[in-house]
Amino acid sequence: MPEIRVTPLGAGQDVGRSCILVSIGGKNVMLDCGMHMGFNDDRRFPDFSYITRNGRLTDFLDCVIISHFHLDHCGALPYFSEMVGYDGPIYMTHPTQAICPILLEDYRKIAVDKKGEANFFTSQMIKDCMKKVVAVHLHQTVQVDDELEIKAYYAGHVLGAAMFQIKVGSESVVYTGDYNMTPDRHLGAAWIDKCRPNLLITESTYATTIRDSKRCRERDFLKKVHEAVERGGKVLIPVFALGRAQELCILLETFWERMNLKAPIYFSTGLTEKANHYYKLFITWTNQKIRKTFVQRNMFEFKHIKAFDRAFADNPGPMVVFATPGMLHAGQSLQIFRKWAGNEKNMVIMPGYCVQGTVGHKILSGQRKLEMEGRQVLEVKMQVEYMSFSAHADAKGIMQLVGQAEPENVLLVHGEAKKMEFLKQKIEQEFRLLPDAKKPRLLHGTLIMKDSNFRLVSSEQALKELGLAEHQLRFTCRVHLHDPRKEQETALRVYSHLKSVLKDHCVQHLPDGSVTVESILIQAAAHSEDPGTKVLLVSWTYQDEELGSYLTSLLKKGLPQGAT
C-alpha cells in the first residue's frame, strides 16, 4: 500500500470550512478551501499553520482543487491565495469558476456591511484569486505537472459540483466534495467510473439517514407558499444569491404557470440576471429533462419572477419575495422581515441552515420576541417554516458510490463522528466481509457442457479436463531510448532505475540481460539505424495491464542520469 497522507484542516468531523490536505506520491494537494459561517474570528478559516510551517505555501502545495461553489468549500480561497500568500494553480470546473466569485463577493459585501470588517479580502483580491484558477471539463484528464494528474466527475449537488480523482503514478485518491446520488429538479445524479482508487474521501453529511424523496419536500414547500398567498399573505424566502435560489425559482415558476397564479414573485437583488445567465450558459450541467426542454423553453428564463424594488415591500396584497442574505442577518432580507414579521398572515420560509446568532437561527429555534439593534424588541407573528433543500447523498447514496468506485479504503469526512462510526461499520459489513448470497458477484470461470450436464469450473481445471494448452496473451510495446552504451549496460540502467522507483514490486535482472517486473519483461536491443539509440522491448500479460502501461510511460520519460 503506498503512503497516502490525509490531513483535514477543517471539516474532518464537522460541517463547515472544508479543507483537506492530501499527500500522495510526494505531491501535496489541497482539496477545498472553505470557511465556517458560524465564526467571526480566525476560526472561520481553516488552520493553515500546518502548511505554512512546512515552508513556503507555493513551494509546498502542488495545487488546490475546489469541488463546488458553496462557501463552506471555497469561502477561504481569496484569504488563502491573496492574504496567506498561495500563488499556485487552483482547479475547479467551468461553472464553479463562473459562480464562485459571485458568492465570494456576496459574502464579502455582507461581512463588510454587517460587521464593518476592514481587514477582510477585497473585490480586487477576489478577482486576483480567480485569475489563478484553471477551469477543467468533466472527465478531462488534466496534467498538473509531469506526475500529478486530476480528473473531474459529475457530483450533482449544485451546478458545477464535481468529484475529483487525483493520481500520481499508479496511486490515486478520489475526493467527492458534496454530492447527491439522486437527480433533483435541475441537476442529475453523481456518477463515477470503476476507477478503484487507493482511497475514497467521501462526505458523510447524511451518514445515518435515508432521506425522504425531495419531491415530498418540494410539494410541502409549494403547498405552504400557495396557502399563504391564497390567504393574502406575503411570503419571504431568504436565500443566498445563487444556488438554492435558482432551484426554488424553477419550482415556483412551474407551479405558478400550472396553477395560473397571479400574485407577483420578486427576486430582491440585481444578481438574478447573472445567476440565471450562468444557469443558461451551463445548461449541459443540468439534468436531462431541463436539457431536453431547452430547445422549446429555457427553464431559467422566468416569466413570473421579476426584479424587486425596495418600494414593493409596502405594496398591499400577497407576494413572494426572494431576498438575500439567506440567514436573515443583514441587508435586504432582514429589512423585509422586520417589516412583515408582525402580521400573522405572512410567512417566512428558511430553505437552508442558519448559524447561531442570526435572526434566521433564532426564529427557527422558536424564538418569537427578538431583540434587535438599539434594544428594540421585534415580535414575530408571521408563520415560520423550515424546508431543507440540501442535496447531499444519504447513507444509501454513499454506499452506492463506494460500490461504483470500488476503492481500497474509504475515509469519511464532512459529517459527525458518531454517524460516521455507524456508516463505517455499514461499509465494512457491505464491502469487506463475507459476500452476501443474494448480492450479484462477478466470477471468472469456464462453463463445461458434457453429457447434458453443465458445470462451472476454474479455467485451469477446464484446460486440464479438455487437454488443451493455455494461450498466453501478451501486450507488447517498443520504447526508444537515447543511450549510446551497450545493450547490457542499458538493461542494467533500466533495472537500477525501476528498482529505485518500484519499491513495492519484484524487479529482477535475469542472467540473459532482460529485466522483469512481475509478469512484465523488458529486453534492450540495438537500434538498426542509430547506434546512439536502444530499443526497449516491453511485454506484459493482461493481468498486469495497468502496471505495464505505467511502466511504459515511465520508460518513455527516459532514464535518470545517475542510473548505472
Binding site: D72, K115, G116, K127, D145, Q356, G357, H361, S365, Q561
Partner: protein, 822 residues
C-alpha cells in the same frame, strides 16, 4: 456575569448535562467557552463557581463519560481547565476530588470516550489552561498526566499531537519558573523533577532511530526556544546540542526540516545567539550536510539573522545561490567566469544536484528564486548584492523556459528540457525579476530584461497567470527606469520599449481569456496614470488601436473586464487620450464618455462596473475634469439620481462620497483655508447660508443623504451620518442664530425621516428649503446614530445572552437542519 445570563445558566447546564439533548450548533460550545474565558480573565473563577453552583454540577457528569457526546465531554474538560487556571479555584475543585477524576485515569482517559480525537484534544487544552501555577505542576506530577502527554505526541490526529507538544513546552516553562525552585541550576540534573522528566524524554527521543520520534523532540524544542528566552534555555541547549549534532552524522539526516527550524529558533533566541554555545559551527556543519532543497531555507534563515559571523553568512549566501550558479554555468560559454553568481570557485554544488528529476529541478529553482525575492528588500541582505549576476540568472531562466536560451553543455540541454514551458518557474522568475527592478544593472542587461519581458508579453504560449506576472514585472521595470537628464519622464530605452509594447497590447485586449484582457487593462490604466502626460507615449498610444479597443471593452461580456475598462477609460479621458471614435456603422451613436459611463451606471446588471463608474466620476469631480466642470451641478444631480437608487450598497455609499466631495468643493474642507471656497463665515447672514446650500437642494443631495441615514445597509447609513455631520458643522453658526425652526418644510421633512426610519420607502421629498434642512440637521441626534452604527449589527446577536437564549431555544428541537449546511 450579567444577571440575565446568570438566570439562564442553570437551565443551560441542565441541557448540556442531559445526553438526550443535542447541541444545536457546533460553534455554540466554542463561543460559550470564549465567554467563560472572558469572565475568568476579568475576575475570580472561584466566585463564579460559588455564585453559579450549577457549573460544578455540570462538571460532575464527566465522571460517567460514556453518557456524554464527545463534543460536550471535550467542552467540560476545557471548561474545567479554564476555571482551574486560578489557584484558589483549582484548590476548590481539588477538594471535591473533581480534577483527578476529570484528568486522571478515572476520567475519560481510561474509557471508550478516549477514542474520539475531540476528547483527547479537550483533555490537552483543559490541562494547558489549568497549568498556570505550582499546584497544577504537583497535580500533573502525581496524576501521571505527563506520561500520557508523551504518548499523545504520536497521536493519529495531527492536531492532538501538535497540541501535546505545545503542552509539554508549557509545562517545562512553568516548572522552570516555579518560585519555590529558586534560580535554576546550571545542571539539568538538579532541575525540578517534572522538568527533568520532560528533558529526559526529549533526550531519549533525540537518540531514537525512528524519525517521527526525533521530529517530535525537535518540534518541542523549536517551540520552546521560539517562545521562551529565559537563561535556563541556554543551559538546556548546551546540554542537548551534542545530541542534535549527532543527528548530522546520520545519513540521510533525519527530520531535516524540523532540524532547520530548531537551529534557526535557537539562532534567533537572544539568550542563545549571543553566547553562541557552538551554535555557529553546528549551523555551518548543517549547511554542508543537507541537500540543496533542505539547506535553502536554513541559508535564508541565517541571512535574515541580525547578528551572525561573516564566514557563516558567506557560506549561507553561497548555498542559496548555488542553483542559479549552476544555471549560469550551464548556459554560459565559459563556465565559472565572472558573471556567475557569487563566484563558483569553492561552490561544491555540481549541476547534478539540479538534475536528478524535473520535479526536483523545478522545486529547487522556485524555492531559490522565492528566497532571494524575500531576502532582497531586507536591510541585512548580503552586501554588495550581486544585482548583475542575479539579473542575468533570472533572464536566463526565463529564456530556458521559453526555449530561447542556448545551452552550452549537457547540463544546459537537460535544463532546457526540464524548464521548457514550465509555468511554475516562469511565475517565480518573473516575480523575482520584478523585485530586481529596485536595483541597478548594466545597460546591456537591462536591455535583455526588456527584451525577455517583451518576448513573454508577445508570446502566444504565455499562460494567463504568466502574462499577469509579466505585466507586473514590466510595470516595475518601467517605474524604476531612471529619468533622463534632459527632461521627459522616461529614459529613451524604456520609451522605445513602451512603443514596442503598445502594438502588442491590442492582441491581449482581444484575448479570449477574460483574465488576460483584464490584466492588459489594469496595465494600461497604470501606464496611462504614470506616463499619460509624456509626449512620446501619448503619440504612440494615440497611433495604436488601444484607446478604441478599450472603449469597446466597456461592453465586454465579463463584468470584471467592463469594470477595468471603465477605470482605463476614465484615466485615458483624464489625460486627454480619449478620442470619440467615428463609427461608420453607427453615425449617430457617437456620445461622450460621460454619457456612456452614466449609461453603465444606470443599466449594468453587475456591481463592479457600476462601482468603477462611481470611482471615475468621483475622481473627475475632484480633478475638475472638463466634462464635469462644464456643468458640475447638472453632473452631480444626474449621478446622484442614479446612484441613490442602486441596489448595490457600495454604489450608494460611493454616491455619498461623491456628494461629500461636492460639498467640500462648495463649502470648503473642514480645516480648509482655501480663499476661493464659498464658506459661510462665522455669524453668516441667513441669506448667505441659504445661498450656499441652494446648489445641494437643487441636486437633491439632501433627499439622498437623509434617506440614506436609515439605509438597511450599515456603511451607507454611516457615510450619510458623516456627510450630515460635516454639513452641520459648516452651518452651525447659522443655526445658532436662527433658534428653533418649525415651518411646514421642517414638519414634512421630519415626517419623512420618521417614515424612513420605520422602513417605508415613500416618495421623494421634492424641493427642500435650505432653512428646513439646517433646522432638521440641528434636531437630529447624529452623534448618537453614529455611535449606534459603529457598534455593528453583531453587537446584539453575538452577546452572551443571545447565545444562551439560542442554545436553550434549540434544546429539544431535533431535526436535520443541524447537518444541513448551505
Amino acid at each position: 456575569m450579567d444577571p440575565e445570563c446568570s438566570q439562564l445558566l442553570p437551565a443551560l447546564c441542565a441541557v448540556l448535562a442531559d445526553p438526550r439533548q443535542p447541541v444545536a450548533d457546533d460553534t455554540c460550545l466554542e463561543k460559550l467557552l470564549d465567554w467563560f474565558k472572558t469572565i475568568a480573565d476579568a475576575g475570580s473563577s472561584l466566585l463564579l463557581l460559588q455564585e453559579n453552583p450549577c457549573l460544578v454540577t455540570l462538571l460532575c457528569p464527566v465522571l460517567k463519560p460514556q453518557d456524554l457526546s464527545p463534543r460536550v465531554l471535550a467542552f467540560l474538560l476545557r471548561l474545567a481547565g479554564i476555571l482551574a487556571a486560578q489557584e484558589d479555584c483549582f484548590q476548590h475543585l481539588q477538594q471535591g476530588d473533581l480534577l483527578p477524576r476529570l484528568f486522571g485515569e478515572a476520567g475519560p482517559l481510561g474509557g471508550a470516550a478516549w477514542t474520539a480525537p475531540t476528547v483527547r484534544s479537550g483533555w490537552i487544552q483543559g490541562l494547558c489552561s489549568l497549568t498556570q501555577h505550582p499546584s497544577a505542576l504537583c497535580f500533573l506530577a502525581h496524576s501521571g498526566a505527563v506520561d500520557t502527554i508523551f504518548s499523545l505526541q504520536g497521536d493519529s490526529s495531527l492536531f492532538v499531537a501538535s497540541a501535546a507538544g505545545q503542552l509539554l513546552v508549557h509545562i517545562l516553562g512553568l516548572s522552570m519558573q516555579a518560585p519555590a525552585e529558586g534560580h535554576p541550576s546550571l545542571q539539568p540534573a538538579h532541575w525540578p523533577a517534572c522538568a527533568q522528566k520532560i528533558v529526559g524524554h526529549i533526550e531519549e527521543s533525540l537518540r531514537a532511530t525512528a524519525t517521527p520520534q526525533v521530529t517530535q523532540a525537535l518540534n518541542v524544542l523549536t517551540t520552546m526556544f521560539s517562545h521562551c528566552h529565559d537563561p535556563w534555555t541556554q543551559v538546556l541547549w548546551v546540554h542537548l546540542s551534542p545530541l542534535v549534532a549527532c543527528l548530522l552524522e546520520k545519513d540521510p539526516v533525519p527530520a531535516a526540516h524540523s532540524l532547520v527550524d530548531l537551529l534557526l529558533s535557537v539562532a534567533r533566541s537572544p539568550v542563545l545567539s549571543s553566547s553562541s554555545c557552538g551554535l555557529w559551527d553546528t549551523l555551518a556543519q548543517t549547511l554542508s550536510r543537507l541537500r540543496a532543497s533542505q539547506a535553502g531555507p536554513l541559508a535564508l534563515g541565517i541571512l535574515k539573522l541580525q547578528e551572525c559571523p561573516k564566514a557563516l553568512r558567506a557560506q549561507a549566501f553561497a548555498v542559496l545561490l548555488q542553483p542559479l550558479t549552476c544555471v549560469l554555468e550551464a548556459t554560459t560559454q565559459a563556465p565559472g567566469l565572472p558573471g556567475s553568481v557569487g563566484g563558483t570557485a569553492d561552490a561544491p554544488l555540481t549541476a547534478g544536484m539540479l538534475l536528478p528529476s524535473k520535479a526536483a529541478c523545478v522545486g529547487l529553482l522556485c524555492q531559490t528564486l522565492a528566497h532571494l525575492e524575500l531576502l532582497q528588500p531586507l536591510p541585512q541582505r548580503p552586501s554588495p548584492w550581486p544585482w548583475a549576476p542575479l539579473l542575468s540568472a533570472a533572464v536566463t531562466i526565463l529564456r530556458l523556459c521559453n526555449g530561447s536560451a542556448t545551452p552550452t553543455s549537457d547540463t544546459g540541454t537537460h535544463l532546457c528540457a526540464f524548464l521548457a514551458g514550465c509555468v511554475r518557474v516562469q511565475r517565480a522568475a518573473l516575480d523575482f525579476l520584478g523585485t530586481l527592478s529596485q536595483g541597478t544593472g548594466p545597460q546591456e542587461l537591462v536591455t535583455q530584461v526588456f527584451a525577455i519581458l517583451l518576448e513573454y508579453l508577445t508570446s502566444p504560449d504565455s499562460s494567463p497567470t504568466v502574462l499577469k506576472k509579466a505585466f507586473q514585472a514590466t510595470l516595475q521595470w518601467l517605474q524604476s527606469s531612471p529619468k533622463p537628464s534632459g527632461g521627459g519622464d522616461l529614459e529613451p530605452h524604456a520609451q522605445l520599449f513602451l512603443r514596442e509594447l503598445l502594438p502588442v497590447l491590442p492582441k491581449r485586449l482581444c484575448s479570449p481569456c477574460w483574465d488576460v484582457r483584464d490584466s492588459g487593462l489594469e496595465f494600461l490604466t497604470q501606464t496611462v496614470r504614470r506616463w499619460g502626460g509624456q509626449a512620446g507615449f501619448r503619440h504612440a498610444l494615440l497611433a495604436s488601436e488601444v484607446p478604441e479597443l478599450t472603449e469597446q471593452l466597456l461592453r465586454d461580456p465579463e463584468s470584471y473586464v467592463r469594470a477595468s475598462a471603465v477605470a482605463a477609460m476614465g484615466q485615458l479621458s483624464s489625460r486627454g487620450l480619449h478620442i470619440i471614435p467615428a463609427s461608420p456603422g453607427h453615425p449617430g451613436a457617437q456620445q461622450s464618455l460621460l454619457e456612456e459611463l452614466l449609461h453603465i451606471l444606470s443599466t449594468d446588471s453587475e456591481g463592479f462596473p457600476r462601482r468603477a463608474v462611481m470611482q471615475v466620476f468621483t475622481q473627475w469631480l475632484r480633478d475638475s475634469h472638463a466634462d464635469v466642470a462644464a456643468d458640475t451641478e447638472h453632473f452631480v444631480a444626474r449621478v446622484l439620481r442614479v446612484a441613490s437608487q442602486d441596489l448595490d450598497w457600495e454604489v450608494r455609499a460611493q454616491g455619498l462620497e461623491l456628494a461629500l466631495v461636492f460639498l467640500e468643493q462648495t463649502l470648503g474642507q473642514p480645516s480648509s483655508s482655501c480663499p476661493y471656497a464659498m464658506t459661510p463665515p462665522a455669524a453668516a447672514p441667513p441669506s448667505l447660508v441659504a445661498q450656499a446650500l441652494q446648489p445641494f437642494c437643487r441636486v437633491q443631495l439632501f433627499d439622498f443623504a437623509f434617506r440614506a441615514l436609515f439605509d438597511c445597509d450599515r456603511p451607507v447609513a454611516q457615510k450619510s451620518c458623516d456627510l450630515l455631520l460635516f454639513l452641520r458643522a459648516k452651518t452651525a453658526s447659522y443655526s445658532d442664530q436662527q433658534g428653533s425652526s418649525s415651518g411646514p418644510d421642517v414638519a414634512s421633512l421630519e415626517a419623512a425621516l420618521q417614515r424612513w426610519q420605520a422602513g417605508d420607502q415613500g416618495q421623494p421629498l421634492g424641493d427642500l428649503e435650505p432653512e428646513a434642512v439646517v433646522a432638521v440637521l440641528r434636531s437630529l441626534d447624529l452623534e448618537g446614530l453614529r455611535g449606534a452604527l459603529a457598534e455593528s449589527s453583531d453587537h446584539a446577536e453575538q452577546s452572551p445572552l443571545s447565545l444562551l437564549q439560542d442554545m436553550l431555544a434549540t434544546a429539544g428541537i431535533l431535526g436535520e437542519n443541524e447537518a444541513d449546511c448551505y
